[in-house]
Symmetry: C2
Subunit: 455 residues, 2 copies
């Protein structure tokens, strides 16, 4: 066995992010201001985002420079290694080659700091004092707290109630990095109070927590809002994973046949695969797979429609796969995948059949995660485990067909703060929840009746 870990030098850390907006196979639908029915302008976004971020959200430039102070901080853990999962291959007795890009090595334990550092930087240079945000499982909230702390900014995190209870130690991380954390819905915002009045026992949702964080930013002039996924600039920041991986697949002397990532808001899978999209558009045979939970089957059961990003309808409307902004998924352990919508960019590429989607329920996902944890270095986060389930399926298919495919996936984070979920799995106490079609139909029926046609 030769080398199975592929490291880049720190000087190989990409100097530019890749912006897929320059290479889309079809035009991207613009976000719509619900008040006017027209595409939003940069000014519409300025109450909640700094200018630097708004520019990045809208730019059509293919390559965007990564500021040096951002690169310096990313070097605390980047470039991340690409690892061949030799022991998993053996355990599966597959002729497939399996590679994972290990994003679990960041201080917060996931890919999330890749964008958190950049966003904190752009807020800092524009004099913002505090950043508000939402978080599901806490991967994003802890990443932002880590980043804001390095830049001397304050950080307020609205954490979805079910995860706030399930994952107390992600709260500890935020405290360690000087962030404040509240269980959402809170009584601190109009949006939160409204939900609590109507459904006091709610598990919370990312949609609700987004409403709270946006309202907080909109009401405080020294505060801006930050989102950990979905938006174009977030995805652009995450392309650092795919850009590094491209170099590393070359070092390994292989070309990936299949690339896989899990999809909550979409930045994880998008950051990993987008740098490979131009090759596919140019005719190269490469398969992209986004995986999600059957409890929140946005890509597999949602329509491609305009919808709000949040429950209280404070955000612009975005054209995306969506289960409806009133959709509340069950309290599955992959808190980061409990989002009703999906990145408009990922949605467009799914709609164009460039990315395929698969949905899995909890037990098969944790079975794959356990196998990975028993054979490889990392105990994967429940979100990541959705990607691993697809990897295992594809590797088993290769065993059956004899194909020696090269499969790459983004190991988006470790599950060290999700071990309660593993306990439940090992106690056979996890539900294989599939959200009922009737309930999905109902929340979809509440979608706003808005469309926009691109000439």
């Amino acid at each position: 066995m030769g080398q199975s870990v592929f490291y880049l030098k720190q000087s190989d850390l990409p100097k530019q992010w890749y912006n897929i907006q320059a290479d889309l196979p079809a035009p991207l639908y613009p976000p719509i201001n619900p008040a006017t029915g027209k595409p939003i302008s940069p000014d519409d976004l300025s109450p909640i985002f700094p200018k630097g971020v708004i520019e990045q959200e809208m730019t059509q430039e293919r390559w965007i420079d990564i500021p040096e102070p951002v690169r310096e901080i990313l070097k605390i853990w980047r470039p991340s290694p690409l690892v061949r999962a030799v022991n998993l291959e053996k355990a599966l007795n597959t002729p497939a080659k399996i590679f994972y890009k290990d994003e679990s090595l960041s201080p917060a334990g996931s890919h999330k700091p890749n964008t958190a550092v950049a966003q904190a930087y752009y807020n800092k240079i524009e004099g913002v004092k505090r950043i508000s945000t939402e978080t599901g499982a806490g991967q994003w909230g802890s990443a932002l707290a880590f980043a804001t702390n390095l830049f001397g900014l304050q950080c307020t995190v609205y954490m979805v109630r079910v995860s706030y209870e399930q994952k107390p130690y992600r709260r500890t991380l935020m405290h360690l990095w000087n962030g404040e954390v509240f269980s959402s819905p809170t009584d601190k915002t109009d949006a939160g109070r409204a939900v609590r009045a109507k459904t006091p026992d709610t598990l919370g949702s990312l949609g609700i927590a987004i409403s709270e964080a946006v309202e907080d930013a909109a009401k405080h002039p020294d505060t801006k809002y930050s989102l950990g996924s979905v938006l174009n600039h977030v995805i652009m920041h995450q392309t650092i994973t795919g850009l590094e991986a491209k170099l590393q697949f070359e070092m390994a002397g292989v070309e990936p046949d299949i690339l896989i990532g899990c999809a909550g808001g979409g930045s994880n899978v998008a950051g990993f695969i987008f740098p490979f999209v131009p090759e596919k558009l140019a005719g190269k045979k490469i398969q992209f797979i986004a995986t999600e939970p059957t409890a929140c089957p946005t890509l597999t059961k949602g329509p491609f429609r305009y919808d709000y990003g949040d429950t209280a309808c404070l955000t612009p409307l975005m054209k995306m796969y969506t289960l409806g902004h009133n959709f509340i998924p069950s309290g599955i352990h992959a808190g980061g995948l409990r989002y009703h919508g999906m990145s408009p960019l990922v949605s467009l590429l799914c709609n164009q059949k460039l990315i395929e989607a698969r949905a899995y329920s909890q037990n098969p996902v944790f079975e794959a995660a356990r196998l990975f944890a028993q054979t490889e270095r990392v105990i994967p986060a429940p979100e990541t485990a959705h990607a691993i389930k697809a990897v295992v399926d594809e590797a088993v298919r290769c065993r059956e067909t004899g194909e020696e495919k090269t499969i790459g996936f983004l190991l988006s984070g470790h599950g060290h703060f999700d071990l309660y979920s593993y306990d439940k799995y090992m106690e056979n106490a996890l539900e294989d929840y599939e959200h009922p079609d009737e309930a999905i139909k109902k929340s979809i029926s509440e979608l706003p009746d808005i469309d926009y046609s691109i000439e």
Copy 2:
């Protein structure tokens, strides 16, 4: 800033362990059979250890081959990187260069799997079916469960009660790797039942848990015992960290002036510094520091005497620094440092003034840990944080004197399963416990009246 992470290739993974017994500056006192008062023979150990391990415990050979199947498993995460803590240096405004050898990257999150894999291998090839062991914070128990699972062995872990309660997720790890875990003292062994009868509210101790695990092995012919620190073979397996670090300091173009590790049973600091000892014996100026808690000040307050390794007096007598086998430290969060004794090899080198020892209480230790977590990639384990406290002290001293020393330390593990301790620290709820001298005097007075003179 140039490269600040130093990776070795997998082919650079050491092919041999270093055995310091070949290079000792003074003879090592042999372990004594308490029944005969004479040095133990290999046969004395055969009820509880496999032959391969006994040979390694006693050999005087300088270099011992690492079996290929062990190297193959170590490659899941090794060689581990040596990292320059650039951001910590900046935060401390020190001219010192600080390097850490990152052992937090193993599947169990610490240096412990380095020996767990080797020990599981030697048991496997001799047909052992099950391994019993003790664990403090659970670092060792989880490491052994990981390793035994890969070799298809069963694993039974006696986990010190206070840690069993404080660190539930290290139990989850052991379950994930198919180990069984009991809160020690249990009612499954004579040793455990005796302690429970006498002191039902005991916090437990490593000494008690060792008694239980040894008894379990001695009573079951298909079962052997395994120890995660203290003994010569364990320390030899851990020299892989220091051997790799030597190569990496060369890559970095520096020569370490100070090397630091924390000391519970001693394998952590010993594995890191022993490969550098011959240079020091040859006259090179290099300082070795072992750090420990004031709640369990073995090296700083214990005498260098023969004592039992466990509470029930089942082990051979070892000449070491010891607080007495009846010593029960307070329930500090660095569970891995709650051991009354110390590796005879480390003890000898301390006694020879080659290693110096320092003791710290909890709050300054966690303060150093928080600073590290806010500036570098890793949230350190409470044990590791004892080393970091000394690193920070030395770096601050360099700031004051202007010396540009190169300081290296073993980052022995991450603290992801110790965040409860960080919570307590941030709530100002940690005690700065110093074990009372009177109590130490009492437990020392109960040392066995045995000595052995080496001609």
